[in-house]
Structure formats: C-alpha cells, structure tokens
Amino acid sequence: MATQQSRSAARLMMAPAVILLLGWMLVPLTMTLWFSFRKYLPLRGGDLGWAGFDNYTRFIGSSSFWPSVQATLVIVGGVLIITVVLGIILALLLDQPMWGQGVVRILVIAPFFVMPTVSALVWKNMFMDPVNGLFAYVWKFFGAAPVEWLSQASMQSIIMIVSWQWLPFATLILLTAVQSLDSEQLEAAEMDGASFMSRFWYLILPHLARAITIVVLIQTIFLLSIFAEIFVTTGGAFGTKTLSYLIFQRVLESQNVGLGSAGGVYAIILANIVAIFLMRIVGKNLDA
C-alpha cells in the first residue's frame, strides 16, 4: 500500500497535530491530578502542601456527592430518551415529501445554533416564568394555577430545555440515516404484507441502529458535562446539582481547587463507567 518513504513522511506531517492534541489533553489532566493531591486554597493561603487522599475522601463523603451523580445520570438518561424517540419521529416525518421541505428542515435545525446560555435564559424567562412566562398564560387561560417550573419541576424543566437543544442534532443524524434506507426494501416489505409498524420495527429501526448509537455516544459525552443550562436556571438548587456543577461550586464558590480537582477525577471515572456501559449495550452496532 504505502511505501516506507511515504509512511515516514506521513508520520512527520501528522506529528505537530498529534503533539498538539496530546499536550492539549495531557497538560490539564496532569494538572488536575496534581492539584487533587494538594491542599490548595487560592484566597486562604494558596498551595498549602501535600494532602494525600484527603480531597478524595472529602469529596465523596460530602452529602451532595451521590445526589449529584444521580442528577447527572437522570439528566443524561432523560435527554437521551427524549431526543432519540422524538428524533426518530421527526426524522421519519421530515423524510416525507412535503411543501416547503427546505425551510422546515432549517427551522428544525435552528435550536442547535442557539448558545446554551441564551436558550436556557429564553426558556427561563419567556416560557417558564411563573408570572410572565408563556406557560403561565396557558395555565391561567385554562384556569389552573401557574406552575413554578424551575422550583417545582426543576429536573423535568432542565431535561426539557436540554432536550430542546439536542433534538436537532439527533434529528439531523437520524434523518440522513432514514434517507439512506433503500426504498426498494420498504416496497418489498410492503409487498410481503408488512404493516407500517412492522416495517418500522423490522426494517427502519435496525437500519437506524448505527445512527442511534452515534447519537447516544456523542450526546452522552456532551451531556455529562452540561453546566450553562443549570447555572442560569436553577443555579444548582432544587436537586439539579450535577457533578460538574458540584465541582464548579467547590472550586469557585468554596475556593478549594484541590477538592474540585478530586471531583474532576471522579467525573472522569464516572464518564468512563458510563462509556463502558454504553459500549457494552450499543457499541456492537458500530462494527460490520
């Protein structure tokens, strides 16, 4: 295939990118590991020396730790389920020939272009505000008492906001997968007497398996570290404190870099556990 020469040339050319990426990844990782073993309080004396595993035991021993892991997993799981299910439905609908297809598709993708902070603020103030929000008007119109979304149904609200942001991504990936399904296969199934539900179950869903896997994996990576949506809406209150939010609080609000870094290491471990589970469940869809 490649000659000796072209291979070493390729290595040489790739080296800067590889070194840059390695540095990009390794420097913060090493620093996190380093700080996690130090007693480091920036406003209260700075680096106060070696701390051993103190930070680790304190972080995990805090009463907020397990609830924050749970909150993280609930948000990730909830958003994944909503975006995949709605994404499949939307992809199937958008695949139908219809008038104004191009415009509709762009509109569907639009939420993805809105910054997380902005979209969370828009949701918080325009939709979910118990006094002036759109939902409050709807509830009042039907004579019901407006729901205080972000305090009474905080978890559901955040899942809703984040799902709204990620739905376009899921829809887009799934739509391309739907479009790549050979229409003759569907016609053959139709002639074989398969109803729409059977066609969906036996043909469309298996065909989408790989795209669904990609959506799940990519979204998980980003959702494990969501922050802005929580910061601008609940500020971590009402049971919506995720692991990344907890780390933020430890580092910035309590000014304890060592403790936060230990939390960061836990976050890495959690991400890896989730990744192993996911690869077990859906990873096999990626080969073949």
């Binding site: 050979d182 003759e184 296969q185 016609e187 053959a188 199934a189 139709e190 002639m191 074989d192 007497g193 398969a194 109803s195 059977s198 036996y202 043909l203 298996p206 065909h207």
Partner: protein, 332 residues
C-alpha cells in the same frame, strides 16, 4: 390462479404521461415479458400491477376481482426487485420467513416451506448467512425464495438478472424458466434485453414510450412485426433497413431484411459492397458490409465463409423474408 387484466390503465407523474391508457390481458400460468428500451415505462407498468404506484386512471383486475385500489399485500403478488431488496440484517432464513411471519403463518408450516424452497433453489447451505455474505447469484435466489414461499398468484420480476455476469445470467434464465414450468404460476418479467425476452417468454409485450407496440409469441414478433420499431427491436443482430430503389421496386417506403436472411456471393447480387469488420464466432460469421452509397448492411453468414477486410462481395435478400414498411413505419 393468476390472470390479470388491465383496462385503460394510465399513469402520469405530474404533467408527464408516462403510460398512456393501455389494455392488456395476462392469462393464468403465462410467462409474459415486458420488453422495450430504457425509460419506456416497463418498471412503471410493473409497479402499477404490483400496487406500488397509484393508477392515474383505468382499472386492474386480478383473477376477475377488481384490485385497482387494493394494497400491494392484498393483491397476492410477489415481486423480485432488480436490487434484490433483501433485508440486510436478517439471515437468509429470516429473509425468506419474513412474508410468512407477516401473514401470521404457523412456524412449523413456515419452516417446511422454507426448507422446500431452499432445496429447490440450492440455498440449504446458506440459510444462516446474511445477504452480505452471498454472491450475486445466491442473493438473486434468496429473493426468488422469498417470493415463492408465499405461493403468490403471480410473480413480478423487474430486470432480475441485470446485475449478474453473462454466464450466470444464462444459468439463472434457465432456472427461472424451470421454476415456471414446475410452479405453473403466472410470471411477469421485465427486461430490456430482447434475448431474454425471446428465450423465456410465452408472450412478449413490446413497449415504446409507454405504448404497447405489439403483443405476441416470440416467433410471431420475429416473423411478423407490425412495425419498424418492433422489427428493429426483436432479433439479434438487428434487422437491416434499406430505402431507395430496392424499396421502391417492392412498392414500399423502406424494406427490412434480417442479417440471417441475406445470401452472399462473390459474383453477383442485388447489392454490392465492401466488407468492413467481420466477426468470426465459429458457428457464424457476422459481416459489416459498406455499400457504395454509404449505408451499412449486417450479414450473418456461415462460419466457414472466408472473406477479408476490404473485399468486394454481393448480397441478395431472400425475397419471401423481406418486410415492407410504409412511410409511417407500419408493416404493409
């Protein structure tokens, strides 16, 4: 059972009328071939019969019952697609089982049918493979297997052999003919290859721009084509068309003569020409002869004819084999 009647069936895509109203009668047990050049509407006509496209007007009845608006599944027809359309993530067994499962058939009976079909089609060793692990010919057989287990009242084939190599195509052609003889089920077969049409059909339907030019048995079409299009389309190598004095002498606008109905001589004949390319096939020799006026005549001569490039030869059409056409191209 499997008689199909089309009456005044037409199909338009938007403003474009792909199939002008046509009538066609397909009898039970017949092997009917739709043949015509690319884009003439063969697939569209087949898909109309299958129920995969809606009619613009007209009616279709199957076994005497009106099926114009029946769903594809209700028509009791089975189709084999050009791309085979196998379900890629199911094993061969599951592929063949799919229509039976959809029909809610008892699994024991289904297995019996699958095994029987696999035996007929030589697929027994491949039942647990995925379609991706099969050769083109094997995939083709799986597609046929999926069609036969349903015991449909008619089979529809859309250019099923066009993805196969030449040798395999001849093989599968025979296998499909065999299958037709054993099952005695109506088969409708679409192809653009007139050799396939001639060798397989009981009845050929020649289509051109959506119109049915002629319907008849292979020999009828070969011996008495109704017009110049059918004359030129059926038969290989193609019929020669000649205008000018030879045609006028025979009271026609143009005459047609098949390459195999021309006698060659080195001394005298009606036409004189210079041999261009000659193709020696062993059994026959195809000569491409240039006439003085620039026209070309293809001649099929016996295999032992020795002629060289540039040699002058004389040709005479066999009088009783000449087809005469009027200015509209219709046979006189």
């Amino acid at each position: 059972m499997g008689s199909i009647t089309l009456s005044k069936v037409s199909k338009s895509f938007g403003d474009v009328e792909v199939i002008p109203p046509l009538d066609l009668e397909i009898n039970d047990g017949e092997f009917v071939v739709f043949v015509g050049p690319s884009g003439c509407g063969k697939s569209t006509l087949l898909r109309l019969i299958a129920g995969l496209e809606d009619l613009t007007s007209g009616a279709i009845s199957i076994d005497g019952a009106d099926a114009t608006n029946a769903s594809p599944a209700k028509r009791g027809l089975a189709m084999v697609f050009q791309s085979y359309a196998l379900y890629p993530h199911m094993s061969v067994r599951k592929n063949i089982n799919f229509p039976l499962k959809m029909a809610g058939m008892d699994q024991a009976e289904a297995d019996k049918r699958i095994n029987a079909a696999a035996k007929v089609l030589n697929l027994t060793d491949y039942l647990d493979r995925r379609p991706g692990q099969l050769s083109g010919g094997q995939r083709q057989r799986v597609a046929i297997g999926r069609a036969i287990v349903r015991e449909p009242s008619a089979f529809l084939f859309d250019e099923p052999l066009s993805n196969l190599d030449a040798a395999l195509r001849v093989n599968m052609r025979l296998e499909i003919c065999d299958l037709h003889k054993t099952l005695a089920t109506t088969m409708i077969y679409v192809t653009h290859d007139q050799v396939e049409a001639m060798t397989m059909a009981d009845k050929i339907v020649v289509l051109h721009d959506g119109y049915i030019e002629q319907v008849g048995s292979p020999l009828e079409l070969y011996e008495s084509p109704v017009n110049k299009f059918v004359a030129g389309f059926i038969g290989s190598p193609k019929m020669n068309f000649v205008t000018g004095p030879s045609a006028q002498k025979r009271n026609a606008d143009s005459i047609g003569i098949r390459p195999e109905h021309i006698d060659v001589s080195s001394e005298s004949g009606e036409w004189e020409g210079v041999v261009g390319v000659s193709e020696h096939l062993g059994s026959d020799t195809f000569l491409h002869v240039k006439l003085a006026d620039g026209g070309m005549i293809n001649v099929r001569a016996s295999g032992d004819l020795k002629v060289k490039y540039g040699e002058k030869i004389f040709m005479s059409p066999q009088e009783e084999r000449i087809h005469r056409f009027d200015p509209q191209g219709l046979t006189i």
